[in-house]
Symmetry: C2
C-alpha cells in the first residue's frame, strides 16, 4: 500500500512537493531512487544510503529473477532482508530489460519469451509471473507491470499496438495481484506520439493503480522530444497519484522534469559514472582521472559537504582511479549519489517556497554556464 | 618517535603483550596492521578500520614513490592527510618490492637500480633516498630501511653478503635520518642460516634503532623453517624493542609467531582473499562463491559479531561475488579484517591472563580440526 500526498504545487510551474507514504517509511518527493539493479546499490551499503537521504531505492525483477533467482530471495525472507535495506523498494518489471538486454526475444500476447543475457537459458515472462515475482517472491513495495517497449524511432502503428498491449497486460497485472502490500503503477507508453500518450493515460486512468510511470523515453529521441512528452503527459495525469519518470537522467533532466510535475526518478548515472570516474559538481561534471587534477588538493566539489568532499581531495581520488583501487569507485559513487539526493532536497525546498524557477536558474547558471 | 612498553610476557611461552606508543596514538600489541600499499586499505575507509580496532596501518614507499609520486604526497601534506588516516603508519622501504616486482634490478653498493613494473621507467633507490621518501615526503611514523633481499634458496655466502650490505645500508639510513618524528626499524636478514641471523642481530643491536623487523621469510621455505628462524631470532632480540614479522601470514602463522614473541604483523591476505571471495571463519576458510552457499542464510561466521555477519548472509555474499558486484569484495574484506583484528585482541587478552597456549589450542581445534 502506498498513498501519495500532494503537499504543494509551485505557483509558477507544475513542480510538486509531496510525500509518498509507504508501510516502510515516507518518501519525500520530488525524490531520486538510487539504483540497486542486482540487489545492491553498487559499492554502497544501506546505512550509507540512509545517511545521505535516500528514502527509496530501485531494484530489478529481471536481473534478480535470473540471478540469484526470485524464489531464492523468497526463501531468504524477501528482497529487503536479503539485501539489508528496510526502506521501500520499487522494482522494475523487467519489461525494459527484456527489450534492451535479452537475446532472441519474442513477444506474444501471452507474454515475452527471451534468452537470458547471462547464460542463454530460455525464460518466459507474463504479466502474471512478473507480478508474482515482485509481490510474492521479492516483496516489493511498488511493482511495475510488464510492458511492451518500442525502439526509437518507431512507426505510429507499432507504437499504438505496443501501447494497447501494455494496457491489456496492465489489466492482467491488476487481476494477478493478490494483496495490498505491494502497490502497482501503470506504465504510460506511446513513443513520441502525443495523441497515443494521451489515449494511454485516459485508458489507464480508469484502472485502479497507485501511480503512473512514464516509459519509453530517453531511448534515443531528442531531448526536446523527451521534454515535450513529459510535459504533455504531466498535463493529463491525475494530480493525486505519483508520477515516475523511468531511467532519467542528468541533473538538468531532473530539474526540467520536476518543473513539469514529475515526482520520482531513478537513474544509474550517479553510480555508473561514479565507477568510471566522472564526478558531479555544482559547476558541472568532471573526469576525475584527468591529469588536470593530479595536484589539485581541493575536494571534488567545494560547495559539497558530503563525507568524501570533507575528507579527500581530487588528487587522491585521481590516484585511486589511476591505480584501479576499488575505493575510487566507492568514494566517487557516494559523492555522486549525495549530489543527486541533495539536488532533490533543494528542489523540494524551493517548491515549498514557490521559488523553484529561481533555484533552477541559479543551479543551471553555475552548472552549465552558456 | 615511538616507544615500546612491554606490559606482560605469558608465563608459559614467549608471547608478549605490550603497547607501542606513537605520537599518533597507541598500538596495543600483538597487533595486526591492515595493508594499504597504495595509500588505501583496499575497499575500506579509515573510519571503518578504526571501528574494527585497527590502530596502525602499513603502506609502501615503493608503490607510492612510483604512483602518485612521493613529492606529490608531500605537497598534499603527507600520507596521513592524503589518505585521511590520522593513526600511525608504518611504511615498508620498498626493498622487498624492488626484488619481487621490479624488472631489471641491479644492486650496487650505492643502492639499487630498477625498472618500474608499471611504466618501465628507470629508478634508483639508495638508503638515503628511501629514508627521505618516508621521513620527509610521506611523513611515516615508522620507516623501514632499504635492505637487500635474497631469493630462496640461496647459498650461505650470498645470504652473508646480502646481510652485511643490509647492515651497511642500515648504518647509512640512520645517518640519513634528519629528525625524531619518524622512527626507524632494523631489518634482520640472513635467510634460513641461524648463525647469520644471530650475527645480524648482534651487529644491528649495537645501532640505535627503534625496533626490529624479521625480513626474508615466507619466501618459499618450509613453514617449519620459517618458525625455526622466527623462534631463533626472538630468543636473541632485545626485549625492550618491538619485533615485527613482515608480510606474515595466515591465522595459524600469527598464533605461532606470537608464541615466540613477535609483536606486530602485516599481511595482505585478509583484503586480498576478501576480494577473491575467500572468507575467514572460526572454523576455517571458506570460498564464499561456492555453490554450497547458494541457499545458506547463515552469516559468514556464526561466531562473528562484525557488521557483515550481523546483517548479511552467505547466500547474499555469494550472489554479490557471482554478479561481480563491488560490494562483495568490500563486505568480505571488512569481515576478514575484523577476523584478523579480533584474533589479535583475543591473543592479547589471553597473554595478559597467562593462558595464551589454551587460547591457541582452542582456536586451532575449531579452525583446523586434525
Amino acid at each position: 500500500m502506498v498513498k501519495f500526498e500532494l503537499i504543494h504545487t509551485d505557483k509558477k510551474t507544475g513542480a510538486r512537493a509531496g510525500v509518498l507514504h509507504t508501510s516502510r517509511g515516507d518518501v519525500e518527493t520530488p525524490a531520486f531512487m538510487p539504483v540497486g539493479t542486482q540487489g545492491t546499490v553498487k559499492t554502497i551499503i544501506p546505512e550509507e544510503l540512509k545517511s545521505i537521504g535516500a528514502q527509496m531505492i530501485l531494484s530489478n525483477a529481471y536481473h534478480l529473477a535470473l540471478r540469484p533467482g526470485a524464489q531464492l530471495i523468497a526463501k531468504a525472507g524477501g528482497l529487503h532482508k536479503f539485501m539489508h535495506w528496510d526502506g521501500p523498494i520499487l522494482t522494475d518489471s523487467g519489461g525494459y530489460q527484456v527489450f534492451s538486454l535479452a537475446k532472441l526475444r519474442k513477444v506474444e500476447e501471452e507474454g515475452v519469451r527471451f534468452r537470458s543475457h547471462i547464460d542463454g537459458d530460455m525464460h518466459f515472462f507474463t504479466p502474471e509471473s512478473v507480478v508474482q515475482i515482485q509481490e510474492e517472491f521479492l516483496g516489493s513495495d511498488i511493482m511495475m507491470p510488464l510492458d511492451e517497449c518500442t525502439d526509437y524511432p518507431c512507426s505510429k502503428s507499432v507504437a499504438l499496438s505496443a501501447m494497447e498491449r501494455t494496457y491489456r497486460w496492465l489489466q492482467r497485472s491488476i487481476k494477478a495481484k493478490k494483496g495490498n502490500k505491494s502497490a502497482l503503477f501503470a506504465i504510460i507508453q506511446g513513443s513520441v506520439y502525443k495523441d497515443l500518450r494521451k489515449q494511454c493515460i485516459d485508458l489507464m486512468g480508469e484502472l485502479n493503480v497507485d501511480g503512473y510511470a512514464l516509459g519509453g523515453l530517453s531511448v534515443g529521441e531528442d531531448k526536446s522530444a523527451t521534454y515535450e512528452i513529459v510535459s504533455h503527459c504531466c498535463r493529463y495525469l491525475p494530480k493525486d497519484k505519483t508520477r515516475y519518470l523511468m531511467g532519467v537522467g542528468k541533473p538538468q533532466d531532473l530539474l526540467e522534469s520536476v518543473q513539469y510535475g514529475v515526482d520520482i526518478f531513478d537513474c544509474s548515472l550517479p553510480t555508473r559514472e561514479g565507477r568510471t570516474g566522472k564526478s558531479f559538481t555544482s559547476s558541472g561534471e568532471i573526469t576525475i582521472r584527468n591529469s588536470l587534477f593530479k595536484e589539485d588538493f581541493n575536494p571534488i566539489d567545494k560547495d559539497c559537504d558530503c563525507y568524501v568532499c570533507k575528507n579527500y581531495t581530487r588528487s587522491y581520488l585521481r590516484h585511486l582511479f589511476n591505480t584501479s583501487e576499488i575505493l575510487g569507485p566507492r568514494l566517487n559513487s557516494f559523492h555522486n549519489l549525495y549530489f543527486y539526493l541533495s539536488l532533490m532536497k533543494k528542489m523540494r525546498e524551493s517548491i515549498l517556497k514557490d521559488s523553484f524557477l529561481d533555484f533552477k536558474k541559479e543551479f543551471m547558471r553555475k552548472y552549465a554556464p552558456s
